[in-house]
């Protein structure tokens, strides 16, 4: 509005993302989107207006200086672009791939009002990937921070419990400032949902590994198979000389629907389904030992990223037919828009306005069908979304061999039960200061899904970063 000269310019359509063809990719676990080439990235970067008041930045939970990094790309300055991003985000290759950009940075971009927003996420991914490809393997410090400061041996010692995005981001920022950080992770691989939840066709495991290696290069110590509340107690960490503790244990306990038949054979939580494949590599069975979940006709319940990932994983494992049941309409789906498009293109069917009322089994206790109640949208609820209401008497039965439940998670109880003096809010998540992440226990900070409930990778990372800052301030560096 303030710059009429720019609005008059014709806005070019955004540069399409190269992808594997839908039918081909539906049969493999390779990454679906192939990434911009240098030329495509430059073309897309040129679409950015370099606004005086760049709204895009307000949409990013970690406030990346988007205008500045895209500005660098317009000048062909990859290093500059990378340096800008690294100041704010320690996992850009991940966020560029999995952020719900349409409701964050890109949703706020001025161009979105007039056409398609700048593809900020794709550009961020390009910068991270292109930089990593060029980076010498023997200098991981620069890969992470742009400036090797890891020589410092400040005495500040911090323990991060949980190696998901929140813990990694906290660890990365602290280590970059010279703190000695140890990450304690319960599973045998570090990465949290990035390794056991989000499938490789959306976020290749190598991308996560690369980021973790970079942190190792900064001196971060990773201890896998260490379960907070089992292998060690929080209080013991202080006895061992840690000055501060950051808790980022996620919200991994799956919710079920509490309808009849939920424990029938063939009914899985999305977490089990995805963990078998992503962490256990069940898609490579029998070369890997974890048995893959069954396929056949698969029904997935839910409308978030988790449901999309489960549905698309089922297709890749060889399911005959995959149907998603969601109780609202596609407009209300919390999944990233891109994932919904990809799922449909690959052949996943989406039935909106219906919700399971029972899982029905045969004599052998094996699932044979799902009964679903049809719904319509009623008045908006507290969240502003329209509440689904049952259409009296309208129940359909969908034949199914496998059902996957993806209706959300709850706080993981292991650490919380072992730490009864850690105050929780009324939903059972850890009570923490929104600015600093500090809990009621002194020098114990928390962030990510264990504080907010299931949210996003970038919001978990933002929380980790804020806590890192608060810790650095407290311990004077």
């Amino acid at each position: 509005m303030t710059r009429p000269q720019k609005t008059k310019k014709k806005i070019l359509p955004r540069v399409a993302m190269p992808e594997q063809p839908a039918l081909e990719r539906a049969c493999n676990f390779e990454e679906v989107t192939l990434g911009y080439t240098a030329e495509l990235a430059r073309q897309e970067a040129m679409r950015c207006l370099q606004c005086k008041r760049p709204l895009c930045r307000d949409g990013c939970p970690v406030e990346i200086d988007i205008k500045a990094f895209i500005g660098c790309l317009q000048e062909d300055d990859l290093d500059g672009a990378h340096a800008v991003i690294r100041d704010y985000n320690s996992l850009p290759a991940v966020c560029g791939r999995v952020c719900p950009q349409e409701s964050q940075c890109e949703g706020k971009c001025v161009l979105s009002a007039k056409g398609e927003p700048v593809a900020i996420g794709r550009l961020e991914r390009y910068v991270a990937d292109a930089f990593a490809a060029r980076q010498e393997a023997d200098d991981p410090c620069t890969a992470l921070t742009g400036a090797p400061v890891c020589a410092s041996d400040k005495p500040l010692r911090v323990a991060c419990v949980g190696g998901g995005p929140a813990g990694l981001s906290c660890a990365g920022h602290l280590a970059a400032q010279g703190a000695r950080v140890t990450v304690f992770e319960a599973l045998h691989e570090v990465g949290g949902v990035l390794v056991y939840g989000i499938p490789g066709f959306r976020l290749p495991k190598d991308v996560v590994r690369r980021e973790v290696e970079a942190m190792r290069g900064l001196g971060v110590v990773f201890r896998t198979n260490w379960v907070g509340g089992c292998t060690f107690e929080l209080s013991e960490l202080f006895d061992q000389g840690f000055d501060a503790v950051f808790i980022g244990v996620g919200a991994g306990l799956p919710r079920f629907l509490n309808v009849p038949g939920e424990n029938l054979l063939g009914v899985f939580s999305a977490n089990e389904y995805l963990t078998r494949v992503n962490l256990g590599r069940a898609n490579a069975f029998p070369a890997y030992d974890t048995p893959p979940p069954p396929t056949g006709r698969v029904v997935v319940v839910g409308g978030g990223n988790v449901a999309m990932d489960a549905a698309r994983t089922a297709l890749r494992l060889g399911a005959e037919k995959v149907t998603i049941l969601y109780r609202r309409t596609e407009a209300e789906m919390p999944a990233r828009v891109e994932e919904v498009h990809h799922a449909k293109a690959e052949g996943v069917e989406i039935h909106c306005l219906c919700s399971p009322v029972s899982f029905n089994g045969d004599q052998g206790q094996h699932l044979v069908s799902v009964s679903a109640q049809l719904m319509e949208l009623g008045e908006p609820d507290e969240s502003g979304r329209c509440r689904p209401v049952c259409l009296e008497g309208q129940v359909t039965e969908i034949p199914a061999d496998t059902a996957i439940i993806a209706v959300g998670t709850q706080p993981n109880p292991v650490l919380l039960r072992a730490t009864p003096d850690l105050p929780l809010n009324r939903w059972g998540y850890i009570e923490a200061d929104p600015e600093t992440g500090e809990t009621a226990l002194p020098n114990v900070f928390a962030g990510g899904d264990i504080v907010t409930g299931a949210a996003t990778v970038i919001s978990a990372m933002g929380a980790g970063r804020r806590a890192a800052k608060a810790i650095l301030e407290r311990f004077g560096s």
Partner: protein, 281 residues
């Protein structure tokens, strides 16, 4: 990596005992806890009960029955070899308090886990009567260890080669009929055995604790694979258990869920045998 400090074949080709160097786990392990273990990079995570822990020696003891690929592979490892991942101690420990006479019933490999629980009860000052069952005499486990602290160890074998000929439940029934004042019965073993034990104690209202061995993937409450119905509610065996009130458990459901991957397991085992026969013999 976790080093095998000692290996003992308890029943050749079938059951082995491993002592593994795992200082943190050994320091924390309590009766009733288990570990999740992955033998190697391509392996499956499987749960095994901590049969004993030695905090000074920094080791934990596992006893396992060879039933499929992972346990067969584990059984090929020797002293000095390493295991990729051992994670624990997981699960809620057994609730142990001083209460009088506790009868601990163990069947098959379950005796290993039962032995750790029995020892806990003994240390808490309870009088522990152990009932140990197996198909025949040479398949009996942990009898000597149990005898070292239990005032009474009763044995049942299917073929009568030692002790009572028949089931552990018959021995338990006899104890009850003899008027033994039992504060609690603990049963660890195959599902049918635990179900039968719960069946014997229910009419007498004797508190009965069973240890469920449902299929587990992560073992830390993130997948729901281990869910079972207890008192009509869904509980996760790995974080809410593995011990539950035997009178409330839906054993039929558990039994069914344990068989979920039988086809793939058979395929794994078949391939494993082919490789090994081709390779070594």
């Amino acid at each position: 990596m976790y080093k095998i400090v000692k290996k003992r074949l308890l029943i050749p080709g079938q059951t082995s005992m491993l002592q593994i160097h795992a200082p943190q786990i050994a320091a924390k392990a309590r009766p009733g806890n288990f570990v999740m273990l992955r033998v190697h990079e391509q392996g499956e995570r499987i749960p095994l009960t901590i049969a004993d822990a030695d905090p000074e020696g920094e080791t934990i003891t596992l006893v396992f029955l060879v039933v499929g690929k992972t346990t067969a592979h584990l059984n090929t490892l020797e002293q000095g070899d390493e295991i990729a991942d051992v994670c624990g101690p997981l699960g809620r420990p057994t609730e142990i308090e001083r209460k009088g006479t506790v009868v601990c019933v163990g069947g098959g490999t379950g005796v290993a886990a039962m032995h750790h629980i029995a020892k806990g009860h003994h240390r808490a000052g309870n009088r522990v009567i152990a009932i140990v069952g197996a198909r025949s005499q040479d398949l009996l486990l942990f009898c000597d260890e149990l005898e070292s602290f239990c005032p009474e160890v009763r044995i049942a074998t299917d073929d009568g080669s030692r002790g009572h000929q028949g089931f552990v439940t018959e021995v338990l029934q006899q104890l009850i009929d003899d008027g033994e004042d039992i504060a609690e019965v603990v049963a660890v073993g195959p599902v049918p055995m635990m179900r039968a034990v719960a069946g014997v104690t229910k009419p007498h209202g004797i508190k009965t604790t069973v240890s469920l061995n449902s299929i587990m993937v992560d073992g830390i409450g993130m997948c729901g694979a281990c869910r079972c119905s207890v008192g009509g509610e869904t509980r996760f065996a790995c974080v809410d258990g593995p011990e539950f009130d035997g009178h409330e458990v839906d054993f039929d459901e558990l039994w069914g869920r344990l068989g979920q991957f039988r086809e793939q397991e058979a395929q794994s085992m078949e391939l494993f045998h082919q490789c090994r026969c081709g390779g070594d013999q």
